[in-house]
């Protein structure tokens, strides 16, 4: 979780990630941020995020992202 928060802070430090639940639906993160985010998460957690995981629901909150990361880690 800490690691993920660090990545997000780096992308946009003005968002309160611990409480945000509509990062995508609320247009807080744009497409360029998503690309950075996916790249950084893949590197940091040593996983490959296949396109099927790239849906808004998986990126709307830190909790959703963590859940996605764990699912991928379990699969691998």
């Amino acid at each position: 979780m800490e690691e993920l928060l660090e990545i997000l802070e780096e992308i946009n430090p003005d968002i309160d990630y611990e409480t945000a639940t509509a990062l995508i639906d609320g247009k807080m993160l744009d497409s360029f941020s998503i690309v950075s985010l996916v790249t950084e998460i893949s590197d940091a957690f040593d996983i490959e995020i296949s396109p099927k995981y790239l849906v808004p629901e998986n990126f709307n909150s830190v909790q959703a992202m963590m859940k996605m990361i764990e699912t991928i880690q379990d699969e691998e």
Partner: protein
């Protein structure tokens, strides 16, 4: 041809029931487009003037096209406004252009907050029927639209184009690439950017359908490509940043665009690695690199790409489109061997920077062309050379203009904005091309306690979002060079070293 509206009149006559523009929820036929635009053109307030600027809040929807064309029917010219721009910036554009009428949807409050005290017309006021405006009797050299771009002095500058410039471009574009009414255009560029005119007037000229692609899909490109398949998109002309998002997220392993025939890219260099992924996944698609500038309608050079370059290789800008004369000059002499600045001549040139005679004279002049004739010439500020095939290759910029995510930005504009903040004595903005990050370095005034974070927050309220620096740093004193000027190369070096 009288003026650009004839494209609409002809398409509405030929294909009255065919869809012209579609977005996720709505669509509009050529007949409806002509009807709504000509009804707006008859609005009493617009009828009061000719050749005057009319601001339009340019949301990414069919309504915006109706507003643009409606303004043209009234004999005036339009100035697209980015609805998300901070009020400070909007106010500069409103003042500089001297617009007294603005049209939008639910934007009256924002217009007022930006200091606008003229007449606001809401889209909902356009009647559903009634008397329509006829195609105005204005000449091809009448002003058509002005688009504001980043200006190095901190003030945005308005590039004014006439009807002839756009007609000249579109005719050459259609002729070169054989576009017809059967293509389906997948529009990515927002309508307040100059590059969107290529899609809009191509749609009107050919009678093709333009699909407005929802911006949010670019965050999740599998949804984007599926949507493009649903809508049978066959032609796209996007910034490389948008194209790169698709391949960086491995979209093609999940879904392929089934109807795509032509992929054009414009606005910045397309990283070879990402282009290669596109070309490998779509071997039957035609890929073309375009080169242009807001000061010319559409584009002026193009290069068909049949093979992706090596990792660090560079794509040529290519050869001129038929309506343009493009040549290199250095120190007043033509350059055929070696590097020179790209100069463009032809009917597609913009008229001027609106209300800025000095800037206009700096960039546009009447001069001799390589064939000995004399004509108006635009100096692009781009330095280039020829390769062995006679194709132009971009080398560098003459000034501090950068391309970031496909947007044209003057670093000077960010610096001026930073320097206008209380407590900031000096500012220097640099660009980390590799990591695509704008970095602002500020020197606080001697007594000031302002922090980098505070500067960053203030800047965000004053500049368009794509110009926000990714990082703001402070230095007690910005380093100076031997001439006593801010040492930009040294600052770049220091900043890039720090893993920014």
């Amino acid at each position: 041809m009288k003026n650009i509206l004839e494209y609409l009149e002809i398409s509405a006559e030929k294909y009255p029931k065919k869809t012209a523009i579609a977005d996720r929820d709505k669509s509009c036929t050529f007949g409806e487009l002509k009807n709504s635009a000509s009804l707006l053109g008859n609005h009493p307030v617009l009828k009061n003037s000719t050749d005057s600027p009319v601001g339009i809040f340019a949301s990414h929807s069919a309504e915006t096209i109706i507003l643009m064309l409606g303004v043209l029917y009234s004999g005036n010219f339009y100035v697209p406004l980015n609805p998300d721009l901070p009020c400070d910036k909007l106010s500069q554009i409103i003042t500089d252009s001297g617009m007294t009428v603005i049209i939008g949807t639910d934007m009256e409050e924002k217009a007022k907050q930006s200091g606008f005290d003229g007449t606001y017309i809401d889209f909902s006021e356009i009647p559903a029927n009634g008397e329509v405006a006829l195609i105005p009797n204005i000449s091809q050299t009448a002003p058509m639209f002005a688009i504001y771009t980043s200006g190095s002095t901190g003030k945005p500058k308005g590039v004014l184009k006439n009807h002839l410039s756009m007609i000249s471009f579109i005719e050459a574009y259609v002729d070169e690439f054989g576009f017809d009414e059967n293509i389906v255009i997948g529009n990515q560029t927002p309508f307040f950017f100059d590059a969107s005119a290529k899609d809009i007037y191509l749609m009107l000229r050919t009678g093709a359908r333009m699909e407005i692609l929802p911006a949010e899909f670019f965050s999740f490109p599998v949804m984007l490509i599926k949507y493009m398949n649903e809508r049978k998109v066959s032609f796209i002309s996007w910034v490389p940043t948008a194209l790169s998002i698709v391949t960086k997220l491995n979209t093609f392993s999940e879904v392929l665009p089934l109807y795509l025939e032509k992929v054009f890219f414009v606005g910045e260099a397309f990283p070879a690695k990402q282009l290669k992924k596109w070309m490998t996944a779509l071997p039957d698609v035609k890929f073309v690199n375009l080169y242009g500038s807001s000061e010319t309608a559409g584009i002026c050079c193009f290069c068909g790409i049949t093979e992706a370059p090596e990792e660090d290789g560079q794509l040529p800008i290519g050869k001129p489109l038929k309506n343009c004369n493009v040549f290199l000059m250095d120190d007043g002499k033509f350059v055929t061997d070696g590097v020179g600045e790209i100069h463009v001549s032809g009917n597609s040139l913009a008229d001027c920077y609106y209300n800025d005679e000095e800037k206009t004279q700096n960039s546009f002049f009447i001069g001799e062309l390589p064939d000995g004739s004399r004509n108006r010439v635009f100096r692009t500020g781009d330095i280039a050379k020829y390769n062995e095939n006679g194709d132009l290759i971009f080398v560098s910029r003459r000034d501090n203009q950068i391309k970031h995510l496909g947007y044209r930005i003057e670093l000077g504009e960010i610096e001026h904005t930073a320097q206008s903040i209380d407590g900031v004595a000096k500012a220097c903005c640099v660009y980390n091309r590799k990591r695509q990050k704008i970095i602002l370095v500020c020197e606080p005034s001697p007594q000031s306690t302002i922090t980098a974070d505070e500067i960053r927050r203030i800047i965000k309220t004053k500049l368009a979002d794509y110009m926000h620096p990714a990082k703001v740093l402070t230095m007690d004193a910005l380093p100076l060079n031997a001439n006593g000027k801010t040492d930009r190369p040294l600052i770049e070096k220091i900043v890039m070293k720090e893993k920014n």
